[in-house]
Every structure is written in C-alpha cells, then in structure tokens.
Symmetry: C2
Subunit: 225 residues, 2 copies
C-alpha cells in the first residue's frame, strides 16, 4: 500500500459530470426507478486503501480470486483544500482552493450507473493523486484547463473542464452544503464519460494543459502485472 | 468538527443487512432496474467529516439552508482493525479483529434504497464511534451480541447480530476481497432496518449486550438544536 502526501481526509469524486456522456444517457435516465436525470451531482468516495501517488505502480485488480479481465482509467482535475470549507457560495468557492492537481481513477468497467459500484471503485492503489499541486494563485480560471491522458504515449482523452455539466465553483459550493470540506480533502471534479481501457503493464500519464504552470502537474502510473 | 480516537482510515457501513428489512423489501427488489435482491453486501462510507465520538453533540442537519425537518438514527456493532486484512477467508476473518465497538449512524430519512444517499449519509458529525473498544479476546462469539439503543431513556431498538443477513466473519471476508482493511479501519456491520426518528435535543444511547464486557462499550450522544 503506497502513501500519498496530499490527500489526508477524503477523496470525493464526481460521477456523470461529462456533458457528452450525460446527454448520451438521457434515454437511460428516463427508465425506472428515477425516470429523470439526476438533479444533483452524483458523488462517490475513493477510500484510504485506494490512495496512491505519482510514479506508483497500480495493482492489477483481482476479482473472485483471479486477475480481472479488464480495467479502465479516467483522469480528473482535482481541487485540494487547505482550509475548512462549509456552506460557501459559488462566488466565494474558489477562495477556498489551495491548489489543483490530478487524480487517476482506475476501476473495473461499470455495468450500470445505478448504485455506485463499490467493488469496482475501491480497488487497492486505484486512485493515484498527483504529487504536485499547482497553486490556486497560478490558475486564473480552472474552467479554462484541459486534462490530457496518454496510454503508452498515445493520447486517449483530452477533456476540457468546460465540458463538465457542473463547473469547479458550482461543485465546491454544492458539496460544501452536503459535507464540510477539510484541510487535506480533495475533490476530483469529473472524468471523461468514456473511460479508457487499460492492460497489464500499460503506462498511463496525464497532464493539466492550459495554465501558466503547464507541465508542473503530471501524473504517471504503470499498471502491475 | 470533533475527532475520534479509533477510526483513522475508513468507516465502512453495511446497508440492508437486517434480515427483517431485507425480507420485507422483496417486492421492491423485484422492480427495475435490478429485478432481484442484492447478492453482495451493499456498502457505504461515512467520510472523515462525519466522524465523531462518545459524548459528543451531533449537529442537527441543515439542508438547503434550513434546519432539516427530520433525522433518524441507527446503531451498529462495529469491528475495529489493528492489522492489515486482505483477502481472508471466513474461517480466519475474526483473527484480524482488534476489538468491537459501536457506531451511531445519524442521517436524513432515506427515500429510496437505490443509489446510496450521499447527501443524507455524509452530514457533519453524524457518525459517532464508541470511545471504548471491547478487546476481541473478551468476545467469544460476536454473533451472540445484541445492540440496544435508547432515545431519552426509552428502548427503541434491540437488534441481535444474529438477525443480520450476513454475519461478522462473512462480512470481513467479503469486504477484504473488495478492499484491503487497514489498521484504524472500522466496519459497521449492520443497522436495524427501521431507523429510529430523533428530534433536536434528543439523547441517544447504545450499548453492546451479551458479552462478559457488557457495559464497557456504550455510546452516548445528544442531538444539537
């Protein structure tokens, strides 16, 4: 089990925040039991045993005693809190951000968007959090950032933050009304709807593009065998 | 925000583990999208901001800027880990238990059993964990324990662990295959299906009955105004 120097309290992830995915799922949303699209952000946690770091090997999943047949990955811009943040407005939300980093979410492919898939999401070492934090003062507008992910050197996702259904400030505000965000908490604001399939031994690298600090925040991981 | 001396890593809770509730929900389980009862334990996390302790006041929930209309509580026997526990069998599971304590889970009433209700479950200070840990060596059989909860001195729940769909050893084994349990992790093994309604200012007390250590583990909390 690796350690991570950034995340100390909780790692909150936002599901279904890619507007391309969200729009493509309207038919599914209309089915029972909800019969409409979610009106609130859909959140899940990556618990303590998932936390890992830049450069670390990510364990290949074992399910029912056997190596998993497939895994997928998505990368997200992540917000790091350095102070307590409770019930803040959208307008003041960004004042609570200490900095920005990246989160890789490795998981089993999801079969259903109902009931967040604890089994698929809570794999040991499956949530590397970038070692570097870009100071909030270096980022004029987080909505102008783009997260780029490569697998073995080939670009598989290039996701502008502006493509998210809910933006950074809105998410911080909404989540701060649900639970207090504390120093050392991290929010992964949204992943590409199409998670990229990975194989054993693959190298996954993500970077934040579009800031003066480009290149200062990268996240590199390799899948175990 | 209060601190808790026991839980350090993750607090994993098991939903829908009361066999009375489980059996009563068969009709609901048969509906879309699942069309059958869950075959695996349904898990949720109480994150860092929820952790609280014996004797602490539990904040009355605020939703949409206003005091919540109602809250509910359930108590669960909880397993405390003192060593890493990864992919263990049912037969060896109890060897990994450091001791037993209690967890109060305060929440908003649930509207649906689909999609675990992050908003209702992640309220600040809503998960007091008992200050005392009954050493595993004092508990011959955790299945023989009963959790008793009183509100303002009136017994509202008396739930034998044997009434749970899945027992302590089975849960530890199953969960240890999903995610590694680490020192300072806690599993709340199951709550009464009928959560008890509470009002502002109510005093909620739970105890573990049925062990040589009876009375050594109590959990007392009062709701804030």
């Amino acid at each position: 089990m690796t350690k991570n120097p950034i995340v100390k309290g909780k790692l909150v992830c936002v599901a279904l925040n890619d507007s391309e995915q969200f729009n493509a799922m309207q038919a599914e949303f209309s089915e029972a039991p909800y019969k409409s699209a979610p009106t609130q952000p859909v959140l899940y946690f990556k618990p303590h045993n998932t936390w890992s770091t830049d450069g670390a090997e990510v364990e290949w999943a074992v399910t029912e005693g056997q190596a998993a047949q497939s895994m997928v990955v998505g990368a997200s811009l992540a917000v790091v809190f350095g102070q307590e943040c409770c019930r803040v407005s959208q307008e003041e939300a960004l004042n609570y951000v200490d900095g920005y980093t990246l989160v890789h979410d490795f998981s089993l492919p999801e079969k259903s968007y109902y009931r967040p898939d604890i089994k698929g999401k809570c794999l040991d070492t499956s949530a590397p959090v970038g070692a570097a934090v870009v100071p909030a003062s270096d980022v004029q507008d987080p909505q102008a950032l783009t997260v780029v992910t490569q697998i073995n050197g080939e670009t598989v996702n290039e996701t502008p933050v502006s493509q998210m259904v809910r933006g950074v400030a809105e998410l911080i505000s909404t989540i701060s009304y649900i639970m207090t965000l504390q120093p050392g908490d991290v929010i992964a604001i949204g992943f590409p709807g199409q998670r990229a399939p990975v194989k054993q031994g693959d190298k996954v690298s993500s970077a934040i593009a579009g800031t003066a600090s480009t290149g200062l925040c990268e996240l590199n991981n390799q899948l175990g065998q």
